[in-house]
């Protein structure tokens, strides 16, 4: 069995509070992996990091041997930050110089000042975007850098033709020449760093939640998040979103391929609903379903995106014994399809029946892992669940 998911030293902190501390976790193809822990242990945070709803602050995640949250070294982060700040400061000099040398007579016009402030603020926001590893920031900074490079060359070649700075009489080239000398090589350096694929390797783009879903990770939510005002069938069809291709033009012209795709989706959606036993209620609104059925519909929606890895966040919460035993059967059926399941659950009976491997979290730290029996007898787990005093009393 090959490893499908590998989480290596994943950390997440909200300001000063660290919700996850260097979690290391592994799931093999076709396994059911359980995650347990007391309330506030960081189980859901882990899922949110996995689906990119939160951006983790350290560590890395590999899915099917492909890094979906790449490792970014702290030194590199600092380098990016300082480069970006330098870029912003250069912009502070660049904008007034640009106006005073290229079009001097417009220097004191309100529109020009506003435009300058606008450009500066774009540069400033770029810095923030860069630090969050956002793609658009890399694209925009590329444009800015090329313009910077161009101007530094222009200034260096037009050394003597530049007049004095407005209002002061100081020759402009005192400012422009050093700036050109700094900004030119600096832009060349950054541009060379900005070749897209290289950036992806070096600094790591974060994939958004939708891209994660496209890769084959689907999830359900602790508090049910269905599209309550839509029909059950439509809910599942939205799950098929990533597998469909049709675009605006195809939809408006109702091309053959679009119609075929729509028909196929409907058929597949019914298959999905039959799998969780909801095909009889396909045309009801999702909000009208009973609680257990809503849970199952959420699973059906997640399965619709054809995932390799399914994350279930407390699927048995609020279910009675019969419903939860049905759920266990359903999850085993999902496993038979070859889908790896990662499951958070409080109901220990469900967990003991299902999980091949259990990880225990407490206050964001991984305190134990192993099979169900190992976990049951692990003193640290008992302590975490029952409190230190009780554990001592028991021994």
């Amino acid at each position: 069995m090959n490893t499908i998911l590998k989480i290596i030293k994943l950390s997440k902190s909200f300001g000063g509070l660290s919700a996850l501390r260097e979690i290391t976790l592994e799931a093999k193809q076709g396994q059911i992996v359980g995650i347990i822990g007391p309330n506030g242990a960081g189980k859901t945070t882990l899922f949110n990091c996995l689906t990119s709803l939160y951006y983790s602050t350290g560590g890395q995640i590999e899915f099917q041997e492909r890094p979906i949250v790449p490792e970014v070294a702290e030194t590199k982060r600092r380098l990016i930050k300082s480069c970006a700040m330098l870029f912003f400061v250069l912009g502070l000099i660049w904008v007034p110089l640009f106006w005073s040398s290229i079009v001097p007579h417009t220097f004191f016009k309100v529109e020009v000042v506003l435009l300058g402030i606008f450009i500066l603020s774009i540069r400033f926001f770029l810095v923030r975007g860069l630090m969050r590893f956002q793609i658009w920031a890399w694209g925009l900074i590329f444009v800015f850098l090329i313009s910077d490079l161009w101007f530094s060359i222009w200034w260096l070649t037009h050394l003597l033709s530049l007049g004095p700075m407005i209002g002061t009489g100081i020759p402009l080239y005192y400012f422009t020449v050093p700036w050109g000398i700094i900004a030119g090589p600096f832009s060349i350096y950054l541009i060379s760093q900005l070749v897209l694929r290289k950036v992806r390797q070096l600094y790591g783009f974060r994939l958004g939640p939708d891209a994660i879903c496209r890769l084959g990770v689907a999830r359900t939510f602790q508090n049910i998040r269905l599209f309550f005002n839509l029909s059950v069938l439509d809910n599942v069809k939205i799950g098929f979103h990533v597998q469909m291709r049709s675009g605006v033009l195809g939809i408006l012209l109702k091309t053959r391929s679009q119609r075929d795709e729509e028909g196929l989706t409907e058929k597949e959606a019914f298959k999905c609903l039959r799998f969780v036993g909801l095909d009889g209620r396909a045309f009801d609104l999702a909000g009208a379903l009973a609680y257990g059925e809503q849970r199952r519909l959420e699973i059906a929606r997640a399965l619709a995106s054809n995932p390799q890895l399914l994350l279930l966040d407390e699927p048995a919460a609020g279910m009675n014994a019969q419903e939860s035993s049905e759920l266990i059967r359903l999850i085993l059926k999902i496993r038979e399809k070859g889908i790896t399941v990662l499951i958070i659950e409080h109901d220990m009976k469900v967990m003991m029946n299902l999980a091949d491997n259990i990880y225990v979290l407490d206050y964001g730290v991984l305190i134990a892992d192993g099979t169900a029996d190992e976990i049951r007898t692990n003193p640290r787990v008992i302590e975490a669940y029952l409190g230190g005093g009780t554990a001592h009393a028991a021994t």
Binding site: T51, L53, G208, P209, D210, C213, R214, A218, R219, F221, R225, L226, F227, F228, N229, L230, S231, L233, D234, K237, I238, G239, H241, V242, M244, S246, G247, V248, I251, L252, K254, Q258, E261, E262, A282, F283, D284, L285, G287, R301, S305
Partner: protein, 332 residues
């Protein structure tokens, strides 16, 4: 038997309404025929606008207060193109729609990252900006002097002049817009919009790229608005920046809220009731109280909020109805 059919399928109701609309110019209304036709043309125009706006707050769940900006852009595109280049309506309509979509994308791409109220404020600013540009860029729009002398549209070399011709033209446009909107609603795109409306986080985790689909919604909505504006310019033959003030946005939003956000039938019903209502009030109210008709508008909306807070045709019920129809179609 027939009545059962009506109750079962809203399409029959719709088809009979269309039939009535087509008959309208030939009803013996005497001297007031043209007056009625003009009111109905306005009502259908607002139907188109409301259907277009409905895509953003109704389908995607984002409050858009700047819709009239796109309406104005469409109107001025149409007016300028027909004055300077004398193009045919069938060239102008797609060009205006494209221009609207362009501005929708330009406005939407950076601002759709904002959430809720912040986005509404930005769109509001945009519509004010459009009016300011229209008013001040004299070289392009002639500013407060307006754009007079827009040539009427012509079909096969026959220039449209009478009211019934315009009425039929706008009915045709309504059909096109309706087709577009229903097709979008029942497709992958429409479902993605609904998902965003219902729950953004769940939508993201189902693989819906929020920004992309929000921008698409915004662009399509803008292009429909611009198309409405293009017709308006051709119909009225004179446009002025004041016609595209903020109040219009609120009015169109009212139509949607009144009819039911997100349901196509409700949106159309809202326009069909509220727009002629203003004309009825104009006739009913005494001269001095004439401007009080907006007060009555407000009253209608307040009553609406009390008795049917989700509009005439609530989104939820429209979806339930749709599902039921799909079920029946499957069983037959």
């Amino acid at each position: 038997m027939r009545w059962q059919l009506y109750k079962k399928d809203p399409r029959f109701v719709f088809l009979s309404l269309i039939f009535l609309a087509v008959l309208l110019p030939w009803l013996p209304l005497g001297a007031s025929t043209n007056y009625v036709l003009r009111i109905m043309t306005t009502a259908v125009l607002y139907m188109i606008l409301a259907l277009g706006l409905n895509i953003v707050p109704g389908f995607t769940g984002l409050l858009d207060l700047g819709y009239v900006g796109f309406y104005g852009i469409g109107a001025y595109t149409s007016g300028l193109l027909s004055i300077h280049y004398d193009l045919s309506l069938w060239v102008i309509l797609p060009l205006a729609a494209l221009n609207g979509a362009l501005w929708g994308t330009i406005l939407g791409a950076p601002t759709l990252r904002l959430t809720g109220d912040y986005f509404a404020i930005v769109t509001f600013g945009f519509s004010e900006l459009v009016v300011l540009v229209l008013r001040n860029e004299l070289w392009l729009t002639r500013g407060p002097m307006g754009l007079p002398g827009i040539s009427p549209p012509s079909i096969f070399g026959h220039p449209l002049a009478s009211d019934w011709e315009f009425f039929y033209l706008i009915l045709l446009l309504l059909m096109i817009v309706l087709l577009v909107v229903t097709r979008l609603q029942n497709s992958r795109l429409g479902r993605a919009w609904f998902a965003i409306r219902e729950d953004e986080i769940a939508a993201q985790c189902c693989g819906v790229n929020l920004i992309r689909y929000k921008v698409t919604a915004f662009a399509i909505s803008a292009s429909i608005g611009a198309m409405g504006g293009a017709f308006y310019a051709k119909w009225f033959k004179f446009i002025h920046p004041d016609m595209f003030k903020f109040w219009e946005s609120i009015l169109i939003l009212c139509l949607i809220v009144f009819g039911g956000m997100g349901s196509i039938a409700g949106t159309m019903l809202g326009a069909l009731i509220l727009i002629p209502l203003s004309e009825v009030l104009r006739a009913v109210l005494p001269q001095g109280l004439f401007n009080a008709r907006y007060l009555i508008y407000g009253l209608v909306l307040v009553l609406m909020m009390r008795w049917r807070p989700e509009g005439l045709v609530p989104f939820k019920r429209a979806q339930a109805k749709k599902a039921k129809l799909a079920q029946e179609r499957l069983e037959i």
